[in-house]
Symmetry: C2
Subunit: 441 residues, 2 copies
């Protein structure tokens, strides 16, 4: 296919680029081995990741793992491992599940990761110990011609916004993409198969293990107790399935390289809002200093907490979206109505229940209407605490279930876009309002 | 208690009134016996109802039952029975479950009912056959002093609007009131006991039979397979329970003789509506020519059908009420919002389901926003068919589940009171808006 050839032309490394990457990896490895020699310990250094597997699509990160004997203490592994990393890269220490050193070498981003050399991934001491087994598995199973299919599928996932297992995306990891190509044979066969995946689809190459309750399950061929697709969210899975069908129906380079989302001018935003007739509420919070893998789940939790508070106050939320910005995070709530009537219906206990008296005592004389009896229960129309959504958010945010790093509400700004649209909301509002699929932009 | 004595003074027959009633009943019975003689058949005539039991509270109806041998054919019973009724009363034939003649005799309303003389109510051929057994049971069990308690409880039930098993009230029949006094001993003991009734409370005097799933169960002492309280609705039961507690806490003549509900002047109605901020929709339909026992259930069904249509169109209904008027029936729907935004959220099938394609094809290019994916499902914001409630009722009423006699919508008027209040709506709107309990008016 011309389109796929064009994509490969853009994402496969040229001989010159490949040579540069290989050279950098080789000299880096040599440097690491020197540093290992200096320790006098029986360590190994191995190349991992997409460079080792030759499945990268752009300038790759280089991953080097330093393997320690299984008898090493965790503390020694960290001290020695990070020492080697710093002596080679002079970079910064990072922690995922596990400490490692990140730095730049010959212009490439490099991760230098200490891990245990284990005999089987089933007995692993730390999640990174499994990586060398993944690399070995892919290198020994992926045919040369399938590397192009992996590159196409990775770029396809990137284009539709479903590439990466990190919290920001909740999509398909590189390893999962490689396994899908192994499972179905080539790029187009993966797309064709995805069209008929069901919710909770279960895939494997070497057999499966325990049940997982995730939208997609792919048993790790090197450790059947692990689900490689555990990060894939319902939306990433659905987006991929739909994109796969849409692409096979009508292929386009835009699936791989979509146009950037547009930020609309204010008049267009205004027009779009008028067209819908809904109300938009923008809550801006101070952006906490967190890595993305912590920021995104907390941002989502915060939006869900505020949405629950709005719904408890009878504001009907049509759609919610979250937008990390420079120094702040914008949460958008699209509402069916921005203002509610003065009363709300308060359904109390059945009349025959002992504590019904409490309801009567509380509301008699205080309710706008009632208490009266409806279907055997006490009902009162009582004065609503908040008639407008911004008032509710200002009054209830401290009591809502927010992400722990979002509890400092000092800088909270709540804007109701009914009246005034401000220029600094353009990007956020455009992202919220524009639901065009990436490849249709 | 002074209050109860005052009530008894108003509802117990004076010696003169009692004499008049007894005389009328006696001469009526004599007349019926003459007519029976003319037939040459072995029939009996007996006095039934509240006159027989001496438990009436105002000018009573006189009920005379003509008993036929069990061997009589149903057809003969009707022909002969109605013949006797007409010869004595010249009245009109009526049908409940059973044909009878209604007329006026000496200024009293009279029902003359033919029935079978059965040996036990368990073998009854028709529901009215049980009545003589009820009369006998009450006459033989109710002490003379308890007649005052029955009169008090009947008048209490009338005052709070819970007296009568008919569809219009769905409350406590006279026989049930008598049984309650027998069960608990006197008026105040019934009220005290009602305060701790639970939903589905089960009562009896002579043991119970099968289970019934009604708010209140009272096994008929003459036929344990029957629930005397089967007509009592959740609201009648709850109203009685609350009124009983309220009366015992703070007795007042108003429980027995409430003030009539007021019809408010238009400015007061307007003020009340402004106070709530809700919207009122009044649907007026031609009143079908039906007896109350058919009219009320159908009116309720019609209101429920239209409420369901409004809710399907996302109008949130706070309260509904029905008002039979001269020549028309008014149905009132109190709404949280009278106007909704242009779009509504249409949640479609999960992306991985085969027919999801149908949703996409239907809405692509036609939806105001989307289709887009949310939680794995296709979602579209689509143009709402009806933004205002009156439009919805006009457009959907023919498709709604209405009472069968309300399907002729030719004369339907739908009024949205947001703008204009008309004088002919005063009574209906006052009844809807005024939720004051009868005894607090």
């Amino acid at each position: 296919m011309d389109i796929e050839n064009e994509v490969l032309g853009r994402v496969s490394p040229s001989p010159a680029r490949r040579k540069r990457v290989e050279k950098a990896a080789k000299t880096l490895l040599a440097h690491v081995l020197e540093a290992i020699n200096d320790t006098g310990l029986p360590l190994e250094a191995t190349l991992q990741g997409s460079v080792a597997k030759d499945t990268y699509t752009s300038t790759p990160d280089i991953d080097v793992f330093v393997l320690f004997p299984e008898s090493t203490s965790r503390k020694d592994l960290e001290t020695v491992g990070l020492g080697i990393g710093k002596s080679v890269l002079g970079g910064e220490e990072r922690y995922a599940e596990h400490p490692y050193v990140h730095g730049i070498y010959s212009g490439y981003e490099v991760d230098l990761v200490p891990c245990f050399r284990i005999s089987s991934p089933v007995g692993l001491k730390s999640a990174v110990d499994r990586t060398p087994f993944h690399t070995t598995y892919i290198k020994s199973h992926l045919a040369e011609r399938q590397k192009a299919d992996v590159r196409l599928l990775k770029q396809f996932m990137k284009g539709i916004g479903a590439y990466g297992a990190e919290a920001k995306v909740q999509g398909f990891s590189g390893y999962l993409v490689e396994l899908l190509v192994l499972r179905y044979g080539d790029f187009r066969s993966v797309l064709a198969a995805a069209g008929s995946w069901k919710k909770g689809e279960v895939l494997d190459l070497e057999g499966g293990g325990e049940r997982f309750d995730t939208p997609l399950v792919f048993y790790d061929p090197v450790d059947s107790s692990r689900n490689v697709a555990s990060a894939v969210s319902m939306d990433s899975m659905a987006c991929f399935q739909h994109a796969a069908k849409a692409y096979l129906d009508s292929p386009s380079i835009r699936f791989f390289f979509p146009r950037a989302p547009k930020t609309w001018p204010l008049p267009k935003i205004k027009k779009e809002m008028d067209k819908r007739g809904t109300g938009l509420l923008v809550v801006s919070l101070k952006r906490p200093k967190l890595i993305d893998d912590d920021l995104f789940p907390q941002m989502k939790k915060t939006a869900e907490g505020l949405q629950a508070a709005l719904e408890a106050g009878e504001f009907s939320v049509v759609a919610t979206s979250t937008h990390p910005m420079e120094g702040r995070v914008d949460l958008v709530f699209e509402l069916m109505a921005e203002e509610l009537p003065r009363v709300m219906k308060h359904v109390g206990p059945p009349v025959w229940i002992g504590h019904a008296v409490g309801f009567l005592e509380k509301w008699s004389g205080k309710a706008v209407v009632g208490p009266y009896i409806e279907n055997g229960r006490w009902v009162a129309l009582v004065e609503r605490k908040y008639r407008r959504a911004p008032e509710l958010v200002r009054g209830e945010a401290t009591k809502a279930a927010l992400g722990s790093s979002f509890r400092d509400l000092a800088g909270m700004e709540v804007r109701d876009t009914a009246g005034s649209l401000k220029a600094d909301m353009k990007r956020t509002l455009s992202r919220h309002l524009d639901r065009t699929l990436p490849w249709e932009r």
